[in-house]
């Protein structure tokens, strides 16, 4: 899937303006409930599986994009 599609999904869940460089700490709406929802939405929408053991590593949009395997575009 394209990065732009994943970024749009993330922005829709967080209801915030984000880009590849956005850190979790800079998005006030990105709390624990949104965190789980975010993972659920990208897994379901893009047919990927993010191992739960990787969840604590997700501190930015770029880490999430990497785990999803999003490609340029």
């Amino acid at each position: 899937m394209k990065k732009s599609e994943v970024l749009k999904t993330i922005a829709d869940v967080l209801k915030a303006e984000i880009n590849e460089n956005t850190m979790k700490i800079d998005v006030p709406s990105w709390d624990s409930l949104k965190h789980i929802q975010l993972i659920m939405e990208v897994e379901e929408k893009f047919g990927v599986e993010i191992p739960i053991e990787k969840v604590p590593d997700i501190d930015s949009i770029s880490v999430l994009l990497g785990l999803v395997g999003a490609e340029e575009g």
């Binding site: 624990s32 789980i36 929802q37």
Partner: protein, 354 residues
């Protein structure tokens, strides 16, 4: 702690009780969460939950109700018990404990051991460990009560916790049984993270005072009182992610089982999608993970026995032996997990409190 074993006991009977009042989270959460409510209900799985009014119905009331129904259902002799243990963090009083009161309320003999265990969401496996040990050493059944009313200390305006918690009481009869097989336990405690789930005031470190009942907005966006629960949701989620699959895998190995041989994985009902992630990690198909969070919410440690009663009643009553893992995790931060083989359990089901 690693793996511990107990042999020669079984869960002979089990029942649960919830308050009649049902909260529909889609309606309840509309004002606090706005349009986000649909997505949050879908993620957490908590569409409905049962709550009791503070001061009217307690964890003790719910658990005693469940026990009385179980005694009738299983035709138990109340004089035959050697112990009553109450797992709770919401007792009627700080002194004396709930269990001693239950001895009287339930007509149990005076020659009985009665004590509470103060532990959060990991409580049911701990209760089974202690009740099983007592039953084995006395050669008589032990009544294990597990009840909590966490909705009483959740601020309805605290976004992290407002949707999640319900109230419940449960009763289990743990009996000596030479053919009960081996119970395998695994425990873990990360006390350095204790402040991730905490009620700051009302204990003896910070006694309830004139400020304890005042609502205040906090930096985390929560609006609550110092006598309400604070939860650092990310810390708790990260704890579950890092530790719970690891402990379940260790338990499976310690019990000489495999993911394929486990019939049922009964997890603490904390968040439905998180449970899916845990099940996936330990390679147990989602169809073998019973879920009751959509009906009852997160009632802390009672979620494991209530899920047994709600989702597995027929399976438990059947004589076929099932291989079951039960795992609780949460406040402490703490994990308790147990593997056992069960069949022919007298399961009275889930009752509405009257």
């Amino acid at each position: 702690m690693g793996v511990a074993f107990l042999e020669g006991v079984t869960i002979d009977g089990i029942s649960a009780c919830v308050p009649k009042t049902e909260v529909d989270n889609l309606s309840f959460g509309r004002e606090l969460y706005g349009d986000d409510i649909e997505g949050l209900v879908r993620t957490t799985g908590v569409s409905k939950r049962r709550v009791s009014k503070e001061g009217e119905i307690t964890a003790l009331d719910l658990s005693v109700f469940a026990a009385n129904r179980l005694f009738e259902y299983g035709n138990y002799n109340r004089d035959g018990f050697s112990g009553v243990i109450f797992v709770t963090q919401t007792p009627d009083n700080l002194l004396p404990n709930n269990a001693t009161y239950c001895q009287d309320l339930l007509g149990l003999p005076e020659s009985i051991a009665a004590f509470d265990i103060n532990i959060a969401c990991s409580g049911y496996p701990y209760g089974l460990f202690v009740a099983g040990s007592l039953a084995k050493s006395t050669g008589k059944p032990v009544l294990l009560l597990d009840g909590d009313t966490h909705s009483h200390f959740v601020s309805p305006k605290d976004k992290v916790t407002a949707l999640l918690f319900g109230d419940a009481g449960t009763a289990s009869v743990v009996s000596p049984n030479p053919s009960g097989g081996i119970w395998t336990f695994d425990f873990e405690t990360i006390g350095s993270k204790r402040s991730a789930l905490i009620i700051p005031d009302g204990g003896y470190r910070n006694r309830a005072n004139e400020y304890s009942c005042q609502y205040k907005e906090y930096e985390d966006g929560g609006y609550r009182r110092p006598i309400d629960m604070y939860m650092n949701g990310m810390d708790v989620y990260n704890f579950v992610a890092r530790n719970v699959p690891k402990r379940i895998k260790a338990l499976i190995e310690g019990a000489n089982e495999s993911s394929e041989s486990i019939d049922w994985l009964v997890l603490h009902q904390a968040n439905e999608y998180m449970l899916k992630q845990v099940a996936r990690s330990v390679k147990i198909p989602w169809e073998r993970v019973p879920i009751s969070i959509g009906k009852y919410g997160n009632s802390s440690s009672p979620t494991v026995p209530i899920t047994l009663c709600s989702e597995l009643k027929d399976e438990l009553e059947n004589t076929n032996i099932k291989s079951i893992i039960m795992a609780g995790f949460g406040g402490g931060l703490s994990i308790g997990a147990v593997h056992m083989k069960l069949g022919s359990v007298k399961c009275a089901g889930v009752f509405d409190y009257e």
